[in-house]
């Protein structure tokens, strides 16, 4: 299990390849990557992500450990950035490895649902017109936790 919190970009392809390689006992590998979206034609200039340095790493480790245990994962990976990112940049990724696809998918969705609403990150959008807005948490993201 590996959990990384960093400001710098990460190499999604290399991380995905390294995570999926050399596994002889895990038949299924799932990855999820979140990308900064530009809503409608150049409206978004940048996304800024604030986090809680003392808490972030251990909150993510707790979420990842719970997923590994619950689905008997062979491995799990979480990488999450903070700081300023432009549209198209990758914000974060998770990866899960399990003997069967159902477990790998479920564990990745669990990681994402908890990262969305229980990891101490806050997104702020900087629009091209100079305005800034904190992204509001969505009820559907909070509701997503009830399935676990």
């Amino acid at each position: 299990m590996r959990v990384v919190v960093q400001e710098a970009p990460f190499d999604f392809g290399a991380e995905a390849e390294a995570f999926a390689s050399g596994r002889h006992d895990m038949g299924a590998v799932v990855t999820f990557t979140g990308v900064v979206r530009d809503f409608g034609g150049g409206g978004l200039d940048a996304m800024e992500i604030e986090h809680y340095p003392g808490m972030t790493q251990k909150a993510l480790e707790k979420i990842a450990s719970e997923a590994v245990e619950r689905w008997s994962l062979g491995d799990a990976l979480v990488i999450h950035r903070y700081g300023r990112m432009e549209p198209g940049e990758k914000i974060m990724m998770v990866a899960t490895a399990a003997p069967h696809r159902k477990d790998a998918f479920e564990a990745a969705e669990y990681l994402m649902d908890y990262l969305k609403s229980r990891a101490p990150f806050w997104k702020k959008e900087h629009s091209a017109s100079g305005e800034t807005d904190w992204v509001a948490a969505k009820d559907e993201d909070e509701d997503a936790l009830t399935r676990w």
């Binding site: 979140g34 809680y52 969305k116 229980r118 101490p120 904190w134 948490a137």
Partner: protein, 81 residues
């Protein structure tokens, strides 16, 4: 005790961190003390349902006791991922 603020809570109160001397028994008691300090605190803490709290870097709720706590953080619902 260190009190930390993140995201728009930080912006409304105007600082990321301060040291507070308090006898507050619970998070809710601490919030009452902060609200009474200044208008910007009253505004930031006007609707607790829009806030989340962590004590010593663990998510908890506003009823949580503060005995022995070294760090309390207030912030809006998280938007990671």
């Amino acid at each position: 005790m260190d009190v930390l603020y993140f995201a728009w809570v930080r912006e409304r109160i105007g600082l990321p961190k301060e040291t507070v001397t308090t006898d507050a028994a619970t998070v809710a008691d601490l919030v009452e003390e902060l609200r009474a300090k200044e208008e910007r605190y009253a505004v930031a803490f006007s609707d607790l349902s829009a806030l989340r709290v962590a004590v010593d870097q663990e998510l908890t709720d506003f009823d949580a006791p503060l005995a022995g706590a070294r760090e309390v953080a207030f912030f809006p619902p998280m938007t990671g991922g």
